[in-house]
Amino acid sequence: VRHARPAALAILLGAISAAGGGAQSPPTFSTGVEAIRVDVLVTDGERPVPGLGPADFEVRDNGVVQDVAFVTAETVPLNVIMALDTSGSVAGEPLDHLRSAGRALLGRLQPQDQAALITFSHQVTLQQALTRDFDRVGRGLADVAPQGETAVVDASYAALMLGETDVGRDLLIVFTDGVDTASWLTSGQVLDAARRADVVVYGVAVRGTEKPEFLRELSRFTGGSLLEVDSTRDLSGAFLRVFDEFRQRYLISYSPRGVSSEGWHQLQVTVKGRRLTIKARAGYVGG
């Protein structure tokens, strides 16, 4: 699941050194020690707050203050997974909007980033696993034929599982224009899976009579947020907003001390001495 990955962090450190480390002081890490990564969005009102370092954050793991070892942002490669609703209701113009939004998002990626595409109707399809070949992802989007019902819960589960990687930061964008009508898994089961994942989920839903409660919860659980658009015409803007916000997040790492490794760990992240809004996952499952 996500936190104990010394090997992965070694690769990560290599990437940062190669990039010059930016303004951050060089992170130090003792390999072999379990590390927890927390993806954090810090905002002052609506505006993301830039320029924070390890000394600015206070992280409590089950109430115990931890030493934040490492904070970084832009330099970490991204894994962007799109899980997109291609049920019958997106046929026609909405699908064109969805394709444009997907392409717009892919256009923002850097060469070291990766992207994957999952589409779903009642049937969930892995169109393209994580790859740096963004054209292939774009082609996957171009080929879909909308039909059938909506299994957004099943698809979110698949995307959470397949999206989580050992390298980079994982962003999952789940788009749906309706409510779930066809999943086998229950929303509770998938929210439980989300607690075990280190993926930040941003839900994008078309505003309608039905409230996208599952996506709202999933986003909240993982430290992301839900964007509701009035029309699929606004999808490109929403996708780019998600991406830009995600780019401005911090990735905090620490090695848990003073807490048992088992069970559910409640996380509390604050910025010292400032009243800022923090979005981060609620916790993680240890052990």
Binding site: V1, L126, Q147, G148, M161, T181, W184, G208
Partner: protein, 1145 residues
């Protein structure tokens, strides 16, 4: 096999045919187009006409621009409503967007935030003068109170505008100088009085940092500027017109130059709100005309209040302070005018001259538009200069504009809560403060009393046929039309709404009708007393035309009056030709045909008028109601009177329903007033309503085009023609019943399929009468008895000639029975007649079932008037695609089979019909919803119980529950879908009944197990499912497709086991299910989730990959069709139904 759409019969709902996709939105103006209006005056101030494009030059930042569009606008200054004539103007009771923009546009902003209370009167007087003397009949205006925050409601109705003006009251905060002077007075008194020295020291130091009203004053200024900005944005939608805002205000009372913020600490904020109002106005090409109501008397009132100010420069105050303050406030008014191309009226009491100038500048001007080469949405100010190459003229135009920022339009776009499902295009029109031309609409509304506190409003919306394009599709004229209604109260709050989407598929004949007479929608709204604006927007899908109309509506407080009159509804013989899909039945019933929004009628037409008079006056009296039509010069051309005793009215609930026919043949072309007046013999007051209308010469339209009059008042009864075709239809039906081959889409089925629901309802009566005549040739037919109300026989809708034909048809049908080659079951004539009738009923049932099933979806003919009692909603993926009239065949069949004698419940064909059509409906997701009725007739039948249980189980699913939450229903209607738990309860009961009758019914047991699991009874669920699994594996099941059922049983058992925490048992079940259907993703997803819950991520991923990439096999998961699979034997059931006719004629 998987179906993506379904249909479900509802008890209620609107209109025929719909499409899921909305056409692309057409968003408004080009971002980079700059429009400048130019008023050019000669030396006497008169407008200069006839300029050409070459004579006008526009410079932006000194660079000459290429003018792309150039128009001279010349509006006559004195327009008269043709229907108002010599008498006082009579406001039309119909609003239309035809030629909507042919008048001037004014917004009158009354700045209560920055007008002294004592000058409220002059402001009201000035606004009143403008409205009554300077607004022409086609001009449109809105009165906006700065602090009200309500969106501007534009109208031509001067009474409404004046009413709003009358409510004006200034509430300006005292000025800074006056505050300072008061503070000085207070301190002087304190210094003179012997007081504690400490208190004196604590008193505020006047005139410097202490200004108690600073915040309030800044707030007032920002409120006024925000009001201006709001009105500008509302006007921004209007292009190609000069837009004037009359701003009655004493100006921004705030020293925006107090940059040190020693006294006025919010100078920057106030200044930027002023700047923003100007910037928004310049971009939207709106001119401000500020008018200072202080006029020449500005100083006097302040002096009266304060006396002479102290001459103390150390306090920053002297005799000039008030003047300076006034000049400063006027400076803001000047800025508003000069920077937007308007004129400020200051220091004068002659407002009339100012109003003349405003009207002149709004009447004759030039509109020039260009695209700046370097346009960027950067918020930058751009200087403009307009030059005219003619000597001796003066030019009035704005001297610059501020480009919008990229997100400005989006951020500020007004949003209103419109009826669900309304497209973005119509939402935009409804949110706009301004009606749009394009698709021509007419709207009328009439208010009727329901109770003391509520009223019902009948609304008719007509889309002009000539502006409605159609495309040809298989000999049909096809388009789709969306109409959305929104009711706003006078504070701009949404108080109601409705939305309809119709897809007319018209025959050539109906198409011609629509082209000539239009398409009409009739709705009904319930509203409390008050003032409202009814906004109606419509669009068509073929060319994307759209339009909107705003209708001002006053709902009177009927409860306050002992004598009142309702609104007036009109229709005419020609108006009855307009295609009216699904009119509100209550409204339609008032006039027999739907009301019309037309107010121009041909001279060969006949009007029918409807109104209600509410009389609760005491003591007993007579009430005389007169209907009168007169020309505008007062010449009466029609009169009829009705007199009633109040006691008679009281017996009818205190209301008189007046319906009058008015033949127009005697009226020469021209404008008329219809007046309905109620005069009681007690009390001093009469009540009346008036409606203006026009009569035009009959342009050679064939009289035969008009439908027969429907009302007794309007001409001879039309029953002869209608019932003649009715008997013809019965004859055709009897022959179709005989000619039809069951199970085929043959000619006879095709004939009855084309009949409209209302015709099928009539047919049910006619068949019942025929059957009675078969049983008893002497049966009387001139009276019909409704079994529900046996004491109230109704006169049959037949003439004597009809009766003669009916008896003949019944005789022929009986003869055919006697000729039947099959052996007679009985020699008793009564029983033989009954057998003959049953045969007719059952063959008729199959005929209509085939007509509904074999020709597609069983929905009504799109151009037919649908049966208002039942509707069909089409849906996909949990969402409604729309509603359409139900064809009515299945309902007719039910009515026919109810009459099978001696007892339909004992008849095998009736049972087969219910089972076959339920199975068919569920399998094809075309739910006819007669399962519960079947259960009542056949309570002991396991198949009937099973199908009813399956229907309720399906209705509990998210796809139908979501649909139920999404459907918008008219008032009083219900879709009949229960909550998830209510549907599950019903399902459980039905499945249990099925299993009581037939314990080996494994499919019913599996479904029962699933329902129990969904109801949270996991142990019971697991028990039932284990029993089903055992039955299937032991071969004790009676099911033919055991593999499919075993898959369901294992999956549901797995889920129940998981809920009980029995992971191993769950894993076994899912594994067995996965083996049964190797391509099915669901068991693999379930296994993956199970693995993850025990922290075996590798196994979870393995199972997930199998779920997503199952190799070459085509993925198939029986769970995807679980909601229809219960009806998979529908074809076999239908075949048995058809066979039953052969063995049991």
């Amino acid at each position: 096999m998987r179906r993506s759409t379904g249909a479900l019969v509802l008890v209620p709902l609107f209109v025929g045919g719909v499409r899921a996709q909305e056409p692309p939105a057409v968003f408004r103006t080009e971002a980079s187009y700059v429009e400048v209006d130019v008023f050019v005056a000669d030396a006497q101030g008169n407008a200069v006409r006839g300029l050409t494009r070459d004579e006008v030059q526009i410079f932006e930042e000194g660079v000459r621009q290429e003018i792309a569009t150039f128009t001279e606008v010349a509006l006559p200054e004195d327009r008269v409503d043709p229907t108002s004539g010599e008498e006082a103007p009579l406001p039309p009771d119909v609003a239309t967007n035809e030629g909507e923009l042919d008048g001037r546009i004014y917004a009158i902003v009354l700045d209560d935030a920055q007008t002294d209370r004592r000058r409220s009167g002059p402001v009201r007087e000035a606004a009143r003068e403008f409205i009554t003397r300077h607004m022409a009949s086609h001009d449109v205006a809105a009165v906006v109170h700065a602090t009200a925050g309500a969106p501007p409601a534009f109208t031509r109705n001067k009474a409404l505008l004046l009413e709003s003006v009358a409510r004006f009251m200034g509430r300006k905060t005292r000025s800074a100088v006056l505050e300072r002077m008061s503070a000085i007075d207070v301190q002087k008194e304190a210094l003179q009085a012997p007081a504690d020295p400490a208190e004196v020291a604590l008193a505020p130091r006047p005139g410097l940092e202490t200004d108690p009203s600073d915040g309030a004053r800044a707030h007032d200024a920002r409120t006024s500027m925000a009001a201006l900005e709001r009105v500008v944005r509302a006007l921004g939608d209007v292009r190609g017109r000069r837009k004037a805002i009359l701003f009655l205000s004493e100006g921004v009372d705030y020293d925006t130059f107090d940059v040190g913020r020693r006294v006025q600490r919010q100078a920057a904020d106030v200044s930027s709100s002023l700047q923003r109002a100007i910037a928004t106005a310049t971009w939207n090409n709106v001119a401000f005309y500020p008018i200072d109501p202080r006029g020449l008397a500005a100083r006097a009132s302040e002096d009266k209040e304060t006396g002479a100010p102290p001459e103390d420069r150390t306090l920053g105050i002297d005799s000039q302070s008030l003047d300076r303050e006034r000049r400063q406030s006027q400076q803001s008014l000047r800025r508003l005018a000069t920077e937007t191309g308007g004129i400020a009226t200051l220091d004068t009491n002659d407002f009339a001259a100012a109003f003349e100038r405003i009207v002149r500048a709004s009447s004759h001007y030039y509109l020039a538009g260009y695209h700046p080469a370097d346009f960027r949405p950067d918020g930058a100010y751009r200087r403009l200069e307009v030059r005219v190459a003619r000597p001796g003229v003066s030019v009035l135009a704005r001297n610059g504009y501020v480009r919008p920022r990229r997100d400005d339009s989006k951020e500020e776009r007004a949003e209103v809560a419109v009826a669900g499902g309304t497209s973005a295009e119509l939402r935009e029109l409804l949110a706009s403060a301004w009606p749009r031309p394009g698709l021509t609409l007419g709207v009328t509304a009439a208010v009727f009393k329901v109770g003391a506190e509520t009223a019902t409003v009948a609304v008719a919306v007509e889309v002009a046929g000539r502006t409605l394009p159609f495309r040809r599709e298989n000999d049909r004229a096809v388009n789709d039309v969306e109409v959305s209604l929104l009711v706003l109260d006078d504070a701009g709050r949404v108080r109601g709404g409705d939305r309809l989407l119709v897809q007319p598929r018209l025959t050539a004949q109906t198409h011609e009708r629509v082209e000539r007479h239009g398409l009409r929608f009739v709705r009904r709204l319930e509203l409390a007393p008050g003032r409202y604006q009814l906004r109606v927007a419509a669009r068509e899908g073929e060319e994307g035309r759209r339009g909107s109309v705003f209708y001002d509506l006053q709902v009177p407080e009927f409860g306050e009056e002992d004598l009142a009159i309702s609104g007036v509804l009109l229709t005419s013989r020609a108006a009855a030709f307009a295609l009216t899909p699904s009119p509100d039945e209550v409204v339609k019933a008032l006039l027999d045909t739907p009301p019309t929004a037309a107010r121009t009628f041909a001279a060969n037409d006949v009007l029918t008028v409807y109104a209600e008079v509410y009389d609760l006056l005491e003591p007993a009296h007579d009430l005389s109601v007169t209907t009168r039509v007169a020309s505008l010069d007062g010449r009466e051309v029609f009169r009829t009177a009705d007199q009633r005793a109040s006691s008679a009215l009281r017996a009818e609930g205190g209301g008189l329903r007046l319906k009058v026919g008015i033949p127009l043949a005697a009226l020469s072309p021209g404008a008329y007033r219809l007046r309905i007046e109620a005069a009681p013999t007690v009390g001093a007051r009469n009540v009346a309503r008036e409606v203006p209308f026009q009569v035009v010469a009959h342009a050679g339209a064939a009289t035969a085009d008009l439908p027969p009059p429907r009302t007794a008042d309007a001409g001879p009864p039309g029953s002869v023609a209608r019932s003649a075709s009715r008997i013809d239809r019965l004859e055709a039906w009897l022959s179709a019943v005989e000619g039809h081959t069951p199970g085929t889409a043959d000619g006879p089925a095709s004939i009855v399929r084309s009949w409209a629901p209302a015709q099928l309802v009539e047919l049910a009566t006619d068949v019942a009468v025929t059957n009675a005549l078969i049983g008893d040739p002497d049966h009387p037919v001139l009276w019909l008895v409704d079994p529900a109300r046996p004491g109230r026989p109704q006169r049959a809708p037949y003439t004597l000639d009809d009766e003669r034909r009916l008896r003949g048809l019944a005789r022929d049908a009986a003869d055919r029975c006697r000729r039947d080659p099959l052996p007679k079951v009985d020699t008793d004539p009564r029983r033989n007649a009954q057998r003959c009738v049953n045969r007719l009923l059952k063959r008729g049932a199959v005929l209509h079932t085939d007509a509904a099933i074999l020709f597609g979806d069983g929905t009504a003919r799109p151009d037919a008037v649908p049966d208002a009692r039942r509707w069909r909603v089409r849906f996909t993926d949990g969402r409604p695609l729309g509603t359409e009239g139900n064809a009515g065949h299945m309902e007719l069949v039910q009515a026919l089979l109810d009459n099978v004698a001696p007892n339909p419940a004992a008849d095998p064909t009736v049972r087969l019909w219910y089972i076959a059509t339920s199975a068919y409906g569920q399998y094809h997701e075309r739910h006819t919803r007669h399962e519960d009725r079947a259960v009542r007739i056949f309570p002991e039948d396991a198949d009937v119980q099973f199908l009813a249980g399956s229907l309720h189980e399906t209705f509990a699913s998210p796809r139908i529950q979501s649909l139920a939450r999404s459907i918008r229903l008219p008032a009083g209607a219900a879709h009949g879908i229960g909550s998830e738990q209510a549907e599950l309860r019903q399902a459980e009961e039905r499945f249990r009944r099925a299993l009581e009758r037939q314990p080996a019914f494994t499919e019913a047991r599996i479904r029962l197990g699933r329902v129990l699991h969904l109801r949270g009874r996991y142990e019971q669920a697991a028990r039932e499912l284990e029993q089903a699994v055992t039955a299937l594996s032991s071969g004790r099941s009676m099911a033919a497709d055991d593999g499919l059922l075993a898959y369901y049983a294992e999956m549901f058992l797995g889920a129940a086991a998981e809920s009980l925490g029995r992971r191993e048992m769950a894993r076994s079940s899912y594994t067995r299910a996965a083996a049964l259907y190797p391509g099915a993703p669901s068991p693999r997803l379930a296994l993956s989730r199970l693995a993850l819950s025990r922290n075996d991520r590798a196994a979870a991923l393995r199972a997930l990959r199998e779920a997503l990439q199952p190799g070459d096999e085509d993925r198939d998961d029986p769970l995807w069709r679980y909601h229809v699979v219960q009806g998979r034997d529908a074809d076999a059931w239908l075949a048995r139904l058809h066979e039953s006719l052969a063995v049991e004629p």
